[in-house]
Symmetry: C2
């Protein structure tokens, strides 16, 4: 019997994006959405995301706030060989443990770099907080790491995604969150808002959102229903569809 089946509350998670390049507007973060979708599929609730600069004090404070609150914290960014890569040191400080060169990480890096290439900068990528387990990935030799409930991953999306594949099967999972997306088309939100609220109130365990988007054809709305329980989701979905049929011009 899985933990979820015992009725234990679903695992929760936060994402911590580390990097000046996101806050400067240089880089569009796409890691949060990837992790969000990944976690939804394995039934882990992503409850919060934060972006902080490459600043040790900021990283430590955010990490300590998040790891105390959620089952898992996934960080991305700051584990490369350059001076702005300070995540390992910040995580060590957050946990109050020393950051040490990991022999297994050196072995991994040695598969890619000659002894001469494995200079002090590259050896930085083998430094992890004491007690952390390495998180390998198929895209590069430089590992992430996992310490307590914090999973430290690369910022480059293709590497981060490979690291998620490594850690995913080890997470406490639960029933996947199922989603129904219903096109409300040109029916205005203001027309169905009160009826939709009544449906939301009547269907506990189903989260219902309404999302407008602007297209060349004008505003188009989608209603999105999410639940871990297929039967509840089905009932609520039928109610929303019936409401839209009634309101259709």
């Amino acid at each position: 019997m899985t933990e979820a089946a015992t009725g234990e509350a679903p695992a929760t998670a936060a994402v911590l994006i580390i990097g000046d390049e996101i806050l400067s507007g240089r880089t569009q973060d796409v890691n949060t959405r990837y992790i969000a979708n990944y976690l939804a599929q394995i039934g882990v609730d992503l409850r919060e995301a934060r972006v902080v600069p490459d600043d040790e004090v900021e990283i430590v404070a955010a990490l300590n706030a998040l790891r105390a609150r959620y089952s898992y914290v996934f960080t991305t960014g700051g584990i490369g060989p350059t001076h702005d890569d300070i995540t390992a040191d910040a995580v060590g400080k957050a946990f109050g443990v020393e950051v040490v060169e990991d022999p297994d990480a050196i072995a991994l890096l040695s598969e890619r770099f000659t002894e001469q290439e494995l200079n002090p900068a590259r050896r930085r990528m083998a430094r992890v907080p004491k007690g952390a387990a390495l998180v390998r990935n198929a895209a590069s030799k430089a590992p992430g790491f996992w310490i307590d409930n914090v999973i430290v991953m690369a910022g480059v999306p293709v590497i981060m995604q490979s690291m998620m594949d490594t850690v995913g099967p080890l997470l406490r999972s639960g029933p996947p969150i199922q989603v129904e997306t219903i096109e409300a088309g040109a029916i205005p939100e203001g027309t169905y808002a009160l009826k939709l609220e009544a449906i939301a109130l009547a269907h506990e365990g189903v989260s219902i959102g309404s999302y407008p988007r602007f297209s060349s054809a004008g505003i188009r709305n989608q209603i999105v229903l999410r639940s871990r329980d297929a039967a509840s989701l089905d009932l609520a979905t039928r109610a929303v569809r019936a409401m839209l049929v009634e309101l259709a011009p």
Copy 2:
């Protein structure tokens, strides 16, 4: 003389993205990056971004943490007519003030909706915390609002962007943050990391980052320098270019 010219520290900011749809992975947030770029151009430092769910307790806690810390907090999302739009109430609670129907907001909505169309759901879009100023936008009639140092905007990007245009000229601005992006090409980060660190240490007031990306041609690196001071930026940029010439194969 502007405030910046008096030597006052630059204004700082945080972004607070409100919405289940971001944390579920349904929607890719693009507002953070837009606001980041906008603020960089007017010399405001974006220091943090957070994403929270459509949950009043979470919104209030995040808002109170951020507004105490930064010159400005920009929120996006949760100001539409449906039951999941709870931002106005959460902001009212954060400030401990009542949320009231604003006559000017009703007047704006009346430009778009007939009296019959302006039902209780749509009137919700005219509710703002007492003392807030409306933030109009060119894309829709529904306004955002500004209370103390918190600017509340729509989640739909085109509307949010129009609201930024409304509030931008009213913000305490400073010298824009200037950026130099240098292609390091295929020169590996591990080859230049220590030299780049020395350059970063020697050029105070210039922030230097190194960013790899994976392309079909292999890894390609960019070095990005940012500063408010043109002369410092120029010196650091020359140093990085000289380093790369020296390292080029």
